[in-house]
Symmetry: C2
Subunit: 394 residues, 2 copies
């Protein structure tokens, strides 16, 4: 009846989303989400900070309109924070955004015309695919291996499609949990520069490292303004504050700011200032350390349970950080078709094909280890393994 725009008329909630609504039942052990554990959210720190801010001298400014670019106190802290990651930003290089998601949206708004090609790792963050649809982009997947992107395939696709943009989650990737090697990062950067594609480096998980050595962001190697680096506090402080930052060349950041002016004027000052104070008071490193211990234990428990229960024909990643493990079942097993059965047995995951630009990967699944207790992880993996065994016929 309504004459909706082309970009949105065929978009409906995904089938997966509907099934996953069932996982709200408390008896369901959900490996589907990508949420921080409720017990890791720093409510005591936020309560104290909010109280101090709202009693402070400048409390009224928390309620009034403020600059689109971000509250000055936060921007100052963000520059210091980026410095700890080896990234040197000036004020004109950063824009506060309402979560990493808004960063992606504004980046596509700034670069992508209808029909423009955007490259992604295959598989990639599923929300990116959804947002790209709202810009009517042509999304092309690049093959990947344990080191990162397959460089020959990246070059072939840069040549063929002349894409505007490459989107990657190179550290503890969503969905695979994988980290690109330094060499791989450098090759990606060199090739994208050669073919004139900008890179959107999405890094929501980088600080959640449980094992192994730090790898510098792609942006750390960027000398020509080819990379926009996006990092969010959703997984390290709290998702519902909706605070993240985009860091890039000033000309790009300016366009992102103009996009944000139109989109929502500014992010709420109270949320911005909570993050600023959280960083200022040193809560960040302290809470992070505490949370890393929790997540490391869960990740290890998850891998142990997989080792113990899964049939040997099921393969999975062993991530050093982040929130996700990626599993590949034998080719003929359809994880999408199996999901309702799993939910019936009170276990949930996300079917892997949702993360592929081309709908491949029906035998894959993404498993989140952050939001369930060790006990429920053990139990859930066992149930899932048993279900998979019935499919394999073991």
């Amino acid at each position: 009846m309504y004459d909706f725009s082309d970009r949105i008329k065929n978009l409906n909630g995904t089938a997966t989303r509907e099934i996953l609504k069932l996982t709200k039942r408390p008896e369901v052990i959900s490996f589907a989400g990508g949420m921080p554990a409720a017990e890791c959210l720093p409510i005591d720190e936020v309560r104290e900070i909010a109280r101090d801010l709202l009693s402070g001298e400048n409390a009224v400014s928390l309620l009034q309109y403020g600059p689109t670019e971000g509250v000055a106190e936060l921007n100052e802290r963000l520059i210091a924070y980026l410095e700890t990651l080896g990234l040197k930003a000036k004020p004109e290089n950063i824009q506060v955004v309402s979560g990493g998601q808004q960063g992606i949206d504004l980046m596509l708004k700034a670069f992508v015309n209808k029909g423009d090609t955007v490259l992604v790792e295959n598989p990639t963050y599923l929300a990116f695919l959804q947002i790209a649809k709202t810009y009517e982009a042509n999304v092309v997947g690049v093959d990947a291996d344990a080191d990162g992107l397959v460089i020959s395939d990246l070059e072939a696709k840069l040549k063929t499609y002349r894409p505007k943009l490459l989107y990657v989650v190179p550290t503890f990737s969503n969905p695979t949990g994988k980290t690109y090697t330094v060499e791989n990062r450098k090759s990606i950067l060199r090739l994208c520069e050669k073919y004139g594609a900008v890179i959107l480096e999405d890094d929501p998980y980088g600080r959640l490292r449980y094992d192994g050595e730090e790898v510098p962001p792609l942006k750390a190697f960027d000398e020509h303004g080819s990379v926009v680096y996006l990092t969010s506090f959703s997984k390290t402080i709290a998702p519902s504050l909706r605070v993240a930052v985009a860091f890039g060349d000033k000309d790009v950041i300016r366009k992102i700011s103009i996009g944000k002016q139109g989109a929502d004027v500014q992010s709420p000052a109270l949320c911005q200032m909570i993050v600023a104070e959280y960083l200022k008071r040193g809560c960040f490193d302290k809470t992070l350390e505490r949370n890393i211990a929790v997540y490391r234990e869960r990740k290890d428990a998850f891998l142990n349970a997989l080792d113990k229960y899964m049939p040997s024909s099921v393969r999975y990643t062993r991530p050093d950080g982040g929130l996700f493990i990626w599993a590949e079942l034998p080719q003929d097993i359809d994880a999408a078709a199996m999901l309702p059965e799993a939910v019936e047995r009170n276990v949930a995951y996300i079917q892997g094909n949702e993360f592929y630009a081309d709908g491949r990967g029906r035998n894959t699944m993404r498993l989140n280890f952050s939001s369930s207790s060790v006990q429920r992880i053990e139990k859930g993996v066992k149930i899932l393994a048993e279900l998979i065994k019935t499919k394999i016929g073991e």
Copy 2:
């Protein structure tokens, strides 16, 4: 150097915006903004509410991911709030948005393809014109008079352009301060239904009534789902909470929700719950009454000063509410060209042509009366009148 999208490559901050940065000097009396008075922002109430929420049983949920549609407690309160405006909403009819601005953005996202025509009152809210550019819409202005839109011109333009959408601010309009009559509202609705255009009714100021009788929203007359009603708490509680609500037919709201999923996942739960509690505790009506008294005094002071100082060839509206007065200077006086001179004399306004879809109105200006004290209003209007007199040659 960067290959930006068509929608954004020619968008830069407006010249006005640059000039207005000068108005941050404390000696400048600014009639340019559209901000609530700092002394009207309910900091005591928000402090108390935030403290209670963050100490409450469900405090952790304020930090965790929540539903895109809006926190359930807020949505319940919004339905009750809309009821007080004569609007009957069910849960599937509403979507919480991050300020009215995001409501506009998501509405255009849902309806407008590149090149589609959108009708607006001439003049209209300048940010709407900016957002429409990011959707590459063809914006056409409809003539207006004291009663609202000129119905014959509306019909002619509906016929000629077959627009997707009409955008109006029918109560205490931005920029003119005018309110459409009931008869005018009904005619607009009837014609838009006849020609299949949806109506976006933006109502950020409706509750700020200082004189005269309430006029029901256009949406109150809508029997066929033709109107999406947007109302924000930016002007009645606090801008920086970024909480507003879109109310419309469930099919439209569904598309707006899908758009918001991509744009920023959700609005911050803390901000949503502050508004929910604010409504629940009865702070809303109490603070509104207090603020209305402040704004009424300022509006009257502004009109008195205009009556006293302005040359008779300058005409201006006498609004019953909202935040703005609209002034028309003699045809040959260019308010845009005069702005730097005014700022030099420590008075600022916004040049009226910024609000016209077709760049007309260079002899007009928007004057905000909410953010200056009565004393500064008197002084600022006098300075402005003297400057205008030098132009007229009086």
